[in-house]
């Protein structure tokens, strides 16, 4: 063999080995890409990013046990607090993906939003009061003792989700998506849509679905075990905004629940009108609501 041949063979071998090694290299590991939102100061300057925290970060918190307990109470409210929950509902039934979904009633900015004056109450409400509002309306149950371990744990979880963003800064999130409130609902169309889009999970009679242990899988949308008439969800446009962006679940290949994005505003309003106006428990405290006026047009009383 002459030199040229020899060197060509060696060169080819080196290249082949190189290519082989290159091809055998496993691809680099990908890190998480969490969802984030801009944080604005009072002058609307971007001063940082709010990153939706992952539960795997909880164990590093000094009050990890309290936060985890709070999270469990939110996810399994009915099972863990049966004395306080009358309906077959959990906090996470409406606060989608443990209160970590934009437009799904998230807890992102909740800690910083209270105390505040609520039009419905006509006075200042603090976070405990707000949570107890949910217990008495959406859960059709009884309030928690504001100093109880349970209330403190739930607030610890909400505080943790909020990630200690300073109170004078605003995270650019939406608690609820937009819906055209000028649309006139058609409950008859809503009934047909309900059967096609909702009843597979929530039942033909709105009865919801429980698992073999009796725990809630899909909450009842009307009847004795549903939220009462004082709940925000009992209002047509509030419910429509919720379902347009968060329902049905399991219909998209993205999003925490694979949720939303299939109903038009009109369809969401039609469905909402239909199911919110089906029979449901009354709310005794309703006489005090909107005592100072400002009653919204979809208020139930």
């Amino acid at each position: 063999m002459n030199k040229t041949v020899k060197w060509s063979v060696i060169a080819t071998a080196v290249i082949a080995v190189g290519v082989g090694i290159y091809l055998a290299q496993p691809p680099a590991l990908t890190e998480a890409s969490p969802i984030s939102f801009e944080i604005l100061d009072k002058e609307k300057n971007v001063v940082g990013q709010y990153i939706v925290p992952d539960d795997t970060a909880i164990p590093q918190e000094p009050n990890a046990q309290e936060i985890l307990y709070g999270k469990r109470l939110m996810n399994e409210t009915k099972r863990l607090l049966p004395e306080h929950v009358g309906a077959s509902m959990n906090c996470s039934s409406c606060h989608v993906a443990q209160g970590k979904l934009n437009m799904g009633a998230p807890y992102f900015t909740t800690s910083n939003s209270y105390p505040r004056v609520m039009p419905r109450a006509g006075k200042e409400v603090d976070l405990t009061g707000r949570i107890n509002g949910c217990f008495q309306r959406s859960m059709n149950g009884k309030p928690l003792d504001p100093d109880s371990r349970e209330m403190k744990a739930m607030i610890a979880y909400i505080d943790w989700v909020g990630q200690k963003v300073p109170k004078d800064q605003k995270v650019q999130i939406q608690n609820a998506g937009k819906i055209n409130e000028n649309l006139v609902p058609d409950p008859m169309k809503g009934k047909v849509l309900y059967t096609a889009q909702c009843a597979s999970c929530h039942g033909d009679n709105g009865e919801g679905l429980k698992d073999s242990r009796g725990d809630i899988v899909f909450p009842p949308l009307w009847g004795d075990e549903s939220f009462n008439i004082g709940a925000g969800m009992a209002r047509t446009y509030k419910a429509a905004a919720f379902i347009k962006y968060n329902m049905p679940m399991g219909v998209q290949q993205h999003g925490a629940w694979g949720q939303g994005g299939v109903l038009s505003d009109q369809e969401a309003v039609d469905i909402a009108e239909y199911f919110t106006h089906m029979p449901r428990p009354d709310f005794a405290g309703k006489i005090n609501d909107w005592a100072k006026g400002n009653k919204p047009k979809d208020a139930r009383y």
């Binding site: 890190e31 998480a32 969490p34 969802i35 679905l209 399991g250 998209q252 999003g255």
Partner: protein, 449 residues
């Protein structure tokens, strides 16, 4: 030098013979029958339409959002993507000019109308056992009842040399013999009908049987060897073992198999990946008799020699831990946050809505590839007339490779599940594969992921 010379000449001669032979070989495979087919025979067309369902032509020959049978679906192979072709009766871009003999040549023997060999992405080694009467009905259906669509076929993404078609002629000689269906004399008529559907038109083995170095299926029927339907990886999905073993179909009842094939779900599982297409386009249209035959045949398949036939007993401690807030691992925390809402603390899912993870043979398969891919990409159940809604699984590709490995290991080894561990690098590999998939093509020129 003389030796070099001689070997060069020998190589050239060999190449010429191989190349020349390849031009002749396919012609020997095409039947020379000149039968006229009555394209106005409604009964024949209807039978052909059913046979098209049993052969699931539409699933591969239609791209997402594309026209039926117009081709353009990318099929991943280890060396690149092959695009399925237009098999509508369009005379210019489809098979409108095919004679019955050419049609049979293509479907059963892998020879195109122009005499070129087809890649074995087309499952002609399976279709080979279909009787010519069925092919005649199929031909009548395609010519008379399928809407012609003008859509050019796309070239494969296989690199030059590897994309040479002529060596396929020799491949066919070795790996795609002409053959007929041989019924098992010891099995009843129903099982034999099931065997025919599975081996032939159903071409189950195209995905569920491992392939050799030349991309050939290692067995085309049970008597060929224990590889038959023993599980394989195709298009990044792991097609499960269909054999009667613990990680095969041992955990399935015949009734569950029937439900699965006709509706895409059982109370425990749901079809996903390529199998969702199979149910949606093919098996949901099978007659109850054919469904039952297939299920019965599959349930009768023996385990592969040496594989476990039952799982070791395991007590579920996971459900209690999750319900009590006892998160024993990072995987458990991830599961609670991302999976519990649908798949539940007991891993049992919700009947016909969200599949169970506990006791689901797709989950505890030795090869975790499907679990990894569906977790990364999400998935969708087939739409069938049996259920009002077909549900999806969202993609969790926003989680890190490490966390995906944690949660997948949790799922595969919690409750009563037992499966080998996956590593973060396994996730990285499949993430890399998924992002490199060739797009599908349809008539509008749109490309779809």
């Amino acid at each position: 030098m003389r030796i070099l010379h001689k070997s060069l000449i020998a190589a050239a001669v060999l190449f010429a013979v191989a190349y020349g032979g390849a031009a002749v070989l396919p012609k020997t495979r095409v039947p020379d029958t000149v039968t006229s087919v009555d394209l106005n025979n409604d009964e024949l067309i209807k039978r052909g339409a059913y046979i098209a369902r049993t052969a699931d032509c539409v699933a591969c020959h239609t791209s997402p959002n594309g026209a039926e049978y117009a081709g353009g679906l990318a099929m991943e192979t280890p060396v690149g993507a092959i695009y399925s072709t237009n098999i509508t009766p369009d005379k210019e871009t489809g098979i409108g000019n095919y004679s019955l003999a050419q049609f049979i040549g293509a479907v059963k023997h892998g020879v195109r109308g122009d005499g070129q060999a087809l890649y074995p992405a087309m499952p002609y080694p399976s279709y080979a056992i279909m009787p010519d009467e069925d092919l005649t009905a199929l031909y009548a259906y395609f010519m008379a009842d399928v809407k012609p669509v003008k859509q050019q076929n796309a070239d494969s993404t296989i690199p030059p040399v590897l994309n040479w078609r002529w060596p396929m002629a020799w491949w066919q000689l070795v790996f795609a013999p002409e053959r007929d269906f041989v019924p098992d004399p010891n099995a009843d008529e129903e099982i034999n009908r099931g065997a025919y559907l599975v081996e032939g038109p159903g071409h189950c083995s195209a995905c569920h049987t491992p392939r050799g170095i030349a991309y050939q299926e290692l067995a085309l029927k049970l008597s060929d060897g224990d590889e038959f339907l023993s599980g394989a990886v195709i298009d990044g999905w792991r097609a499960k073992s269909l054999r009667g073993e613990a990680r095969g179909l041992a955990s399935w009842s015949q009734e569950e198999l029937e439900q699965f094939l006709s509706t895409g779900r059982t109370d425990k599982v749901a079809a996903f990946g390529a199998m969702a297409d199979v149910v949606q386009h093919s098996t949901q249209y099978f007659t109850p008799e054919d469904i039952s035959s297939m299920a019965k045949y599959l349930k009768n398949l023996p385990p592969v020699k040496g594989r476990e036939t039952s799982m070791a007993a395991k007590t579920d401690t996971t459900t209690g831990d999750l319900l009590n807030g006892n998160y024993t691992s990072r995987g458990a925390l991830l599961y609670t946050e991302h999976c519990t809402t649908c798949h539940r603390a007991d891993g049992k899912g919700v009947e016909r809505i969200f599949p169970a993870l506990d006791g689901n043979s797709a989950i505890f398969a030795n090869n975790a590839q499907s679990v990894i891919q569906i977790t990364l990409e999400g998935g969708k159940m087939p739409e069938t007339s049996a259920d009002r809604m077909a549900f999806t699984m969202p993609a969790f590709n926003h989680l890190s490779d490490r966390d995906l490995a944690e949660v997948i290991n949790f799922i595969r080894n919690s409750w009563t599940n037992q499966a080998p561990e996956v590593k973060a690098v396994d996730i990285a590999k499949i993430r890399h594969f998924v992002s490199g998939k060739a797009p599908h093509i349809n008539a509008t020129g749109d490309q779809h992921e």
